[in-house]
Assembly symmetry: C2
Amino acid sequence: MPGEQVLRIIPLGGLGEIGKNMLLLEYGDAGMIIDAGIMFPESDMLGIDYIIPDFRYVIDRMAAGLVIHGIVITHGHEDHTGAIGHVLQWIDAPVYGTALTAGLLEGKMRLAGHSLDKLNVFRAGDVLELGPFSVETFHVCHSIPDAVGLGVNTPIGLIVHSSDFKFDHTPVDGWPPDFAKLADFSRRGVLALLADSTNAEQSGWTPSESTIEAAFNEVFRTAEGRIIVATFASLISRVQQVALVAQRYGRRLAVAGHSMTEYIKVATRLGYLSLPKDLLIPLDQVAKLSPDKVVIMATGSQGEPSAVLSRLAWGRHRQLEIMPGDTVIMSAHPIPGNEEFVHRTINKLFQRGAHVIYDPIAPVHVSGHASREELKLLINMIRPKFFIPVHGELRHLHQHSALAQEIGIPASNIAVVENGTELLLTPDSLTIGERVPGGYVFVDGTGVGDVGPIVMRDREILARDGFVTVVVVLERETGKLIGEPEIISRGFVFVRDANDLLEAAQALVEDVIATYANGDLTTVLQDALSKMFYNQTHRRPMVFAIVREV
Amino acid sequence: MPGEQVLRIIPLGGLGEIGKNMLLLEYGDAGMIIDAGIMFPESDMLGIDYIIPDFRYVIDRMAAGLVIHGIVITHGHEDHTGAIGHVLQWIDAPVYGTALTAGLLEGKMRLAGHSLDKLNVFRAGDVLELGPFSVETFHVCHSIPDAVGLGVNTPIGLIVHSSDFKFDHTPVDGWPPDFAKLADFSRRGVLALLADSTNAEQSGWTPSESTIEAAFNEVFRTAEGRIIVATFASLISRVQQVALVAQRYGRRLAVAGHSMTEYIKVATRLGYLSLPKDLLIPLDQVAKLSPDKVVIMATGSQGEPSAVLSRLAWGRHRQLEIMPGDTVIMSAHPIPGNEEFVHRTINKLFQRGAHVIYDPIAPVHVSGHASREELKLLINMIRPKFFIPVHGELRHLHQHSALAQEIGIPASNIAVVENGTELLLTPDSLTIGERVPGGYVFVDGTGVGDVGPIVMRDREILARDGFVTVVVVLERETGKLIGEPEIISRGFVFVRDANDLLEAAQALVEDVIATYANGDLTTVLQDALSKMFYNQTHRRPMVFAIVREV
């Protein structure tokens, strides 16, 4: 629609959080992308490694003339950075990030074989000129340093995007949110605000990062053995806090876990993390120190089976072992869906004699997202004409919308949409447009998008009841069986104890072959076996018959 | 150990909550069992219907002379009743429950083919004489009516078992906890207290059932369309509350969901639920009433895919459809592990235009378990010599133990054990004994215990990467292939788009057959294919080769 004064805002991706992994702004033939992240599979997405937004719409539009003037990454979390390799494979555009974000993007771009020439580093406060979009970046506090929000000056007006944020007056890095910039936007007039809805169900104000120090101090003051702190690999401020308390109580710090080591390396190199000299020790030196002289920071706060903490909990770590007297701090909240794994890990740690400390037992973690009072403050500071809740599941967006209405934004000036639905913004209106093609794409091994609903459905059936395959060889002329039917089964019954059932299956196959009159023998066999298995076991394995004639 | 004054207390079962599904008391050759329930499978227990405690230890002891004098069921929830059919198959003993509990046990016993002669109904306050155990039952409040705790007079002293409870001063059925009995126990002296640890991480006092009425009233007062209330099928008091508010606002009540209909039927017949005359309407009458004249109570508050609410959310219910203007109240908290399904259901309901109300958006549910201040009160009222936290995961037991220590129970008088570990109690000591044989048993279809670690492991692999089966027929004399190799694959790649890969597999098979010199051809083929598949896809499907010679 060139000519018309319409800005199209399109959150891309499928299920899950809206506008978080990838957001497209389109004005005529000019476009920009905000974030390029991945989603993590839900528990019933069997075998999937991760999920990327399906951005075929962008590719199609580019073929029709759309120019993407830049991809701005707001911060270094995987759900904002993780798809950069895939995106650059199809969308040739410069990438922008603050120093830490760019430092973390580098590795991903290198891995995917992209030139780092495309990567541009900016500082919060810088203005990025991306075609018709003049993007004023501003510092926000979040659970990773150097995160930014964006004030996008477009031909139809100023759009403010909070990205993930909280209003932390005492952040660990001493860098509070850029309230002055928000006030400045407000003064200039904001057409639309896009704001983080993650904690729109949480009343009150998210506590400052600094508030957890007291709880950490108390643990370090009283713990007699080793201390192990599990948190998100990217939670640099937590590393900083633990380092300071460790120094206070004369403990050395070791780091366990590849991803955390990587984050710490990048953050230290770029000056986001300042560790006292001689504080860090290699993990293999831990055993040489007295237990009360050491603290270990580890990954695995989400109970991920392959991360350090799970390996410790199940006794499968090569260098470390949980001992009675150890204190484990779970310095993270379970991400929804991970509760079961997290709780299991805590139980296992208790079982090995560790003392485990976690919220709500002690306030050892705070969220990186704004709660309801902060969300109200943001809206009232910005005073936007239109409001678009983003970064949350649909329920969070609805709660955020209700909150905005409570403080005076008319319902008609708010739009709640799901990923893949375009919003049409003009100086006078915000309307919900069409659905664009796309959704999400499963990545499984090296396969991008080849695992779809059919493979997934098969995996579900196999997961539930397994399969049975029967192979028979027949004499072509007589139709008689040569040798015995051969049966392979997995995930259905415990084969060693199911002789009777499998012999009955063999007999049934022989019987069917001897007596069947017409129809496709393969189908007849499969139906007969499925029925027999269900009658005997009330299970429905996949059943395959392979009939070869010779 | 007859002769010695030792009471053995053994929580039976495996993972999960301790002492909840089944608890054995043994004194010499006399025994009694408390509860006979099931566990629900965790998300990675693929295809499992439910889990029962492995009580082979009891059977072995009975063979050696142990007499089980009774099975006392404390209340009607599945995790206390659901295994009764399995238990009675092996353990011939009288079963005791209050009227509602017995009413719910009846169906299960009938289904499993057991005579109802074994079932004995008591009233809270009655004393059951079970061999050397004189069991004083006492009323407790919980999220199902007619729940009891037990004061077990044993030859070595009085043992009090709270079972699942909360201290509710204003329960919906008007029947507060039996504080007088607790005080009486205390006066007489309690050797050991076993107490519910479920909410040992929750500070404060669990709100009364009655407190949710205000939130319900507000919804009913303001809702303009239909109201749908989803809760646990067994939460009779919630049905009672909804019925009263419905009557107040002139709405008729329909019930959707087989299990809830059953609970309501039994509870009404036995007088635990008193519904105003003409309030109930059949579900198929709902469409004939104006939306503001109806409320529907439904199962599915845990997001279970086959329950009513999920079917509504996904548009798969035969009689009902969610319409814009509907208000859905999620009157339940997600049971840990169900969060993802519950949240997905809420998102889908919003997507269909419903207004969804849930805690913490509005206080429309309260827990049925005591929080920390109640737990302190119980301990201080009972003043036991020894303390045994039960009914919770290991972490809850540890928190409950810490809480007991805070209020003066010495750590040496507290024992935290997992299921399958015996506790030895004497008038002077509480010690942790041996592990007894057992654990838990998977029930899958009609199979009890046949699905074990090997089948489970196979299901995990199949769920992650599927399988590939190759069938080849060879000429016995020459070893040459007859016809082409046949390949079946599911859950690995999308077969229709994977021609190249499958043709490569066929070619590889032909090549291996043509060139292999020694070793087992089946193994050689499987190894070659596995390697090729991993190189091509980074996935590891199960690979089977079937070689037939003719």
